[in-house]
């Protein structure tokens, strides 16, 4: 039953993955990437893992691709990357890729993965949650701490960057308006960041 779906989705996913790599317009590449990630989400749905699928969409399409497009938009609208591909490079790339695929395939074929049996009952969300909080709790806590640390680190980096940016922005002719700005009582930089950081620290607790 799921075979036609599977094949269609596979074709779309792989095709858009190739487009994402090869397309010269970065924005179309990003859109193709979004389609690839959506295709992977559909694979999860086909595997009865809707929970993972929804997270795949929320995190990758809703956040990662948005970030990529945002960057493309801010940096440049034309493609400023130049393809520098000789024939030798291309051949070598193909050979290496094929070698990796062959190795991995052989490894998988030799491993016990082929003999795995899918369990008959699909685990419910509740079961996943319970496992997460009992058996896998050390991993869960470690993961949470890593994420929290990275968020705090990002905030610290952002704050440092903002400060530097302001110093740099104050060029020769611009001292005047900087002064105006401070006199007009605009709240910028530090205060906002400080409050943000507080809230995130609250999250950590």
């Amino acid at each position: 039953m799921s075979d036609p779906y599977f094949i269609t989705v596979s074709v779309i996913t792989i095709a858009s993955a190739i487009i994402a790599l090869e397309f010269r317009e970065l924005i179309y590449g990003a859109i193709a990437l979004a389609v690839t990630l959506l295709g992977i989400a559909i694979f999860f749905v086909l595997l009865d893992a809707t929970f993972v699928a929804m997270f795949q969409i929320t995190v990758y399409v809703g956040a990662v691709v948005v970030l990529i497009i945002f960057t493309i938009m801010l940096v440049r609208r034309e493609a400023w990357l130049r393809l520098d591909e000789g024939g030798r490079r291309r051949v070598m790339g193909a050979v290496i890729a094929l070698a990796i695929i062959g190795l991995l395939g052989a490894l998988l074929a030799a491993s016990s993965i082929a003999r795995w049996q899918a369990s008959e009952s699909v685990p419910t969300l509740m079961q996943i949650g319970e496992e997460m909080l009992t058996y896998y709790s050390p991993a869960f806590i470690a993961l949470a701490l890593t994420l929290a640390a990275s968020v705090v680190g990002a905030l610290v980096l952002a704050k440092v960057d903002r400060g530097k940016g302001r110093d740099k922005g104050k060029g020769e002719g611009e001292g005047e308006w900087d002064e105006e700005e401070s006199s007009s009582g605009f709240e910028r930089g530090g205060e906002l960041e400080g409050e943000r950081k507080e809230s995130v620290e609250g999250e950590e607790r």
């Binding site: 990357l81 790339g93 611009e174 308006w177 009582g185 605009f186």
Partner: protein, 385 residues
Amino acid sequence: MGLEIDRERIPGFDVEGKDADGMDKGILTLSVGPQHPGSGHFRLIVKVDGDIIVEALPDPGYVHRGEEKMCEYRNYIQNIPHLERPMIADSCGILYPYVLAVEEICNIPVPERAKYIRVIMAELNRCIFELYWLGIYGIFLGHSTMFMWPMADRELLIDLAEMASGARVTHAYFVPGGVRNDVPDAFPEKAKRHLLYFRNRLKEYKDIFYDNPLFQARTVGVGILRREDAINLGATGPVLRASGVEHDIRKVEPYDVYDELDFKVITMNEGDSFARAYVPWLEMYESVEIALQALERMPSGPVRTKLGPNPKGAVGEVFKRVEAARGELAYYLVSDGNPKPYRVKLSVPSFREIPVMAHLLKGAKLADMPSIYWSMNYWPVEADR
């Protein structure tokens, strides 16, 4: 690496980092107006760095029609209707100093009753303008109810003006030697009723608009105009008084009967957008007060001095100023003894707010642009003349 960054095509990486205007990259030049919902017949060239305005260049002139040149071709009386065209929302205010100047240069006496009627009409027009202004301020900040309410209440005052002068906005009511015609007998009664109703409505504006924390978040502390800057930049009217300068032509140089009436000059010391929006609201109370007092004390008698067919001015010059709704409005009138003025110069408050606007917008945020721009009492048509 398969992909290499083509350095020549990335503007951020070039040596100078400047574009044709000599500005740093990343600075976006926006042309706010004349076809922009937040501009009017006026253009503001705004250069933004991120969200901060680094330079704002006001560019008026889209509705310039040479009022000053036109005045030189017409005689003193013919000038009346076209001179009020630049400011139809406050047409008495813009005509008032002209009439005073012509009276002084042609030496025309004014009957007492006409002076009172003029004061009443000037105050009505002040409220009419402030309501219009307040409505636009509301819609500039996205408050659609604040747009509709003053527009509706304005009708009551326009009805009064229509009753007195026969015209709703362009009254051409003030003439040298008095006013064009007497007010109808029912006018004082109706005016009192409408003004009292209007004064009650003002409280509701405060409830929904000035007391709204979101409105305060947008205006308090935004675009602070310091006292010395306000004076040196030639700010006038509510903008000047919101910066703590107690300067009102009705007090410092009373014309007609303002010296006989009892009213306060409203000042605030903050100098921010909120103060500039709040001062007109307080002034509307004073306007109602003045109008009620004038209605009370208005004597009977003639309202116009009969003039000859074509009054001639004495050789010389005269500079007359009044406090219009937007501030000090002055006429500089030079006469060479002919029935036509030799030179008429309008010094209008809107034109005087342009440097203030440029000063305040520099360093402000783009989101603060509407609240600063419209708190200037700027009226593009008046500024262009």
